[in-house]
């Protein structure tokens, strides 16, 4: 599975702390004393609980490698992540479906960050070249006082298939959440991104970022919502969707909802073709149009 990821996406290193799941089977797991990882295989499902223990700062990233090598498979992962008080860790998830044909990947995650904890979760997906796959990453994240959560979802190589990304974060006092989704869609891919932040606590803040390049006949639907409830809560939605073909479709729905006169919720969206000013700038340096578009798109997906 890791070889397939390396072949199509890039180098991958399995860290000492790791968990590898193929289809609905745990292939390998290892956890140092700062972590508690339990797994349970059920029929057509794997249940995972990963706890970062109190006061533990895990220096090296925790590798998660999830995937399906066979065709016609449904993978169901129920994941619970708990960061106990004053803990911190980075999780690097590699999700690989190289033979993406009639595959459904369902990830149902619950994430709890207790007081003063910090989590960075980076996930890179590869769905094969056929992309006949449905991927449903679903996460509900709760941030308790003074914790911070950063999530980055990237799908840049191969065909995406149908992606239904649905993440919601509840931010209590003095917390920070940043959710980023970056996707390069092609052919008839359908990318549905739903990100929501509920800024319930005072001084809570959140940034929701979506960057999607839609090639050929692909479709992108981005729904970003920030709800400002707590005193001095701050939120920002930033959505960019670039269409490189006449047949691609981009839709964006930013919802900025403030229910407190001290909160500040903003949004910006850029949807359409490649920015003409950027294009003119690069062409005036002697680059041809195609090369200029490539630089703009690669920059966006970087």
């Amino acid at each position: 599975m890791m070889n397939e990821f390396e072949k199509h996406v890039g180098p991958i290193e399995l860290e000492e702390n790791h968990l590898v799941i193929e289809s609905n089977t745990v292939l390998s797991k290892n956890a140092e004393k700062c972590l508690n990882v339990t797994t349970k295989e059920e029929k057509n499902k794997v249940i995972v609980k990963l706890v970062v223990k109190k006061n533990c700062v895990v220096k090296n990233p925790i590798s998660l490698c999830f995937g399906v090598l066979k065709k016609d498979t449904i993978q169901n992962l129920d994941i619970e992540l708990v960061f106990e008080k004053n803990s911190s860790a980075t999780l690097l998830a590699h999700c690989v479906f190289p033979n993406g044909y009639n595959i459904t990947h369902n990830m149902d995650a619950k994430v709890l960050l207790q007081e003063n904890s910090s989590c960075t979760y980076k996930e890179v997906h590869y769905h094969g070249e056929e992309g006949k796959i449905i991927v449903n990453p679903y996460a509900r994240i709760v941030l308790e006082k003074n914790s911070s959560y950063r999530n980055e979802f990237k799908l840049l190589k191969g065909k995406a298939g149908k992606v239904n990304f649905d993440y919601e974060v509840l931010c209590k006092d003095d917390t920070t959440a940043e959710l980023t989704a970056i996707v390069n869609a092609k052919s008839n891919d359908i990318i549905n991104i739903k990100e929501k932040a509920v800024l319930e606590g005072k001084n809570s803040s959140s940034v929701l970022i979506s960057k999607i390049v839609l090639n050929e006949e692909s479709q992108g639907n981005v729904y970003n919502e920030i709800l400002g409830i707590g005193d001095y809560s701050k939120g920002h939605v930033d959505c960019t969707e670039i269409l490189t073909s006449k047949k691609a479709i981009a839709k964006a729905t930013p919802i900025v909802d403030a229910r407190n006169n001290t909160s500040n919720i903003t949004h910006e969206a850029a949807i359409g073709g490649v920015n003409k000013d950027s294009l003119n700038t690069l062409m005036s340096r002697g680059l041809d149009k195609e090369e200029s578009i490539k630089i703009i798109i690669n920059g966006l997906l970087k």
Binding site: D277, N280, S284, R285, G286, L287, K289, N298, K302
Partner: protein
């Protein structure tokens, strides 16, 4: 002549922005074009660069280039330092400066950044995004054109919306370009910058109405040119 503009006409709906506009720029000359807000200065620079199409002839280096696109004109030897330089997501300052001259060495980049008062170690890896101030972005724009092997540089209001320090570096860049033997079309309404040119002219109602030595022209401009009633909305938006 490096650039000959012959009877350029450009309008939006019924409004004429350029009206039989003609201008010659010699090789190695720094020509300053003065004009009030909205008189078509930025429209002219866009027409020369190939962003907009106008009626009339544009002859560059003895070749008619009116039918060429932006890239082709840049390859012929024309470039522009944009009035509002665009940011490019994900591109570093070094990558941007190198775009116009892929042969440029790290040393070349260092020198060009230093010429506009930016230290390589502080700026090379920074991204070309909103974290840069307007003055910093304009200076990076100038550093990038310093490296380009071109014959004509259009400086479109390099002084708009910047600080005094940046102003000093703009004058320095104009002199460097001149020393490199490049011709410059400097578009501005700043008298201080205008004095760095060899010759100057005034654009009014879409025509070049006066031409001469920069001090004389700037003096005339200051005392005689009010707001233009032939303004171009596009240019006003650019000026804001």
């Amino acid at each position: 002549m490096i650039l000959k503009l012959e009877k350029l006409n450009y309008g939006i709906s019924d409004k004429k922005i350029l009206n039989d506009f003609s201008l010659n720029i010699k090789e190695g000359e720094v020509f300053c074009l003065l004009g009030k807000n909205g008189t078509g200065k930025s429209t002219l620079s866009n027409i020369i660069m190939g962003v907009k199409k106008a009626k009339g002839k544009i002859i560059f280096n003895n070749k008619e280039i009116s039918g060429l696109n932006i890239t082709e004109r840049a390859k012929q030897g024309i470039t522009i330092a944009w009035q509002k330089p665009s940011n490019i997501d994900g591109l570093s300052v070094e990558e941007y400066v190198r775009l116009g001259n892929k042969e440029a060495t790290k040393r070349d980049i260092k020198i060009s950044l230093r010429s506009v008062g930016l230290a390589y170690c502080d700026y090379a890896d920074r991204l070309l995004d909103d974290t840069l101030s307007g003055g910093e972005r304009k200076r990076i724009e100038l550093a990038s054109i310093l490296l380009m092997p071109v014959k004509l540089v259009i400086l479109d209001e390099p002084d708009s919306g910047i600080d005094v320090i940046s102003l000093f570096f703009i004058k320095k860049v104009i002199n460097l370009l001149k020393n490199q033997g490049k011709s410059v079309l400097l578009i501005t309404h700043n008298g201080d910058i205008a004095t760095a040119s060899d010759n100057a002219g005034i654009i009014c109602k879409g025509k070049l109405i006066k031409q001469g030595k920069p001090l004389f022209i700037y003096d005339y401009f200051k005392n005689n040119c009010g707001d233009c009633d032939n303004y171009s909305k596009e240019d006003l938006e650019n000026d804001e």
